[in-house]
Symmetry: C2
Subunit: 213 residues, 2 copies
């Protein structure tokens, strides 16, 4: 077997959805959680793309600063996701009441799901930042159905108070854009940026991971 | 706790992806595998929507006939998925060589992913059949990248030789339509047909499942 030395990937995110999509893509990584005051950022940016790009950048840089550069060269990936409807930027619900209010706004309509992604390396000052947008259409639901969905607690910790891969699949009629972006990590952007800007091909990670299974 | 008597759901499919998406939606079900000569059907239909609807219907009816009607009332769900590109209907690859040929045809372009769904009940002659289409766009890949993807064995048993939820997320640029349809079961159609045509609300199953966790 050919031996390839692969760089280590750090996911600077506590999102279980982002971890899961990276794992399912067969990619090994470690998690590094940063604590950014997201509210402060949210107050400063009215454009959703700008906001998620700034937040992803802040997370990536903070993670980079905190990881010892004495360790081997590491790739750092950070992301931030928001929902936008009627010009309003919507993040995570803080409680069930807020989750109901958000979902009530989204049902029977199309909203924008916007993710910012920032990629850097521990031994390289370069940082590449991009954002992706997916249009998501929800079916109409009754108040009782929204309440039943909220009971499942799937709204917790998720922008827009839903999870497309799980119970919300029942009422997501249609999307236009990347589906991994809706989960919180636009995998095709990650793949393309790493390939083009960092000379890293994720298929090598995949094959490597497979050989060791 | 309110006691609701829920009908049992039977998934007439051996697809692990269909099982997974139903499970992740919090719905309890049993699997019943039918053996249909799919090749015979494929030779008889040149229209992809007609083909997947006929195959889903055949699977649902065969499962219905084989499940004892003496048992409690059961809902039977069956589905069939194909890919269509340049008017050609593409099913599952039989080997790595065929998987390579299929993926080579799909890269850098948009194809149609079409799923037929059939729903019936053991104690009800009614059967409701529908189909759903999603447009899926792949990034360009090199032959070497396709070969590395094939090594992961993800092509096996999947229409079009890829799995959107797993490693193929890296090269799926964009979809237009339902994302659960791409996985092989259009959940929004299932939800709407059951609600409208069978007076069954899947949110009740969900809530029920949650209460027992």
């Amino acid at each position: 077997m050919m031996s390839i030395t692969l760089k280590k990937i750090i996911l600077a995110s506590k999102s279980i959805d982002r971890s899961e999509i990276l794992k399912r893509a067969g990619i090994s990584f470690e998690i590094f959680i940063t604590n950014i005051d997201e509210q402060k950022f949210k107050a400063s940016f009215s454009d959703a793309h700008e906001l998620v790009k700034k937040l992803a950048t802040a997370k990536a840089l903070l993670a980079g600063n905190n990881i010892s550069i004495n360790e081997s060269d590491k790739i750092i990936i950070a992301a931030d996701t928001v929902v936008e409807i009627d010009g309003e930027i919507i993040g995570k619900a803080q409680n069930k009441k807020e989750a109901f209010k958000i979902l009530k706004k989204l049902i029977g309509r199309t909203h924008k799901l916007i993710t910012g992604i920032a990629i850097t390396e521990t031994q390289n000052p370069k940082i590449v930042v991009d954002s992706d947008i997916t249009y998501v259409e929800f079916l109409r639901l009754s108040d009782e159905e929204i309440r039943q969905y909220i009971k499942t607690c799937e709204w917790e910790g998720r922008a827009g108070a839903y999870s497309i891969s799980d119970k919300a699949s029942l009422f997501i009629n249609k999307i236009n854009g990347s589906s991994s972006n809706v989960i919180g990590l636009p995998m095709h952007k990650l793949f393309e940026i790493l390939r083009k800007e960092f000379k890293v091909n994720l298929f090598q990670f995949m094959s490597h991971s497979f050989n060791h299974d």
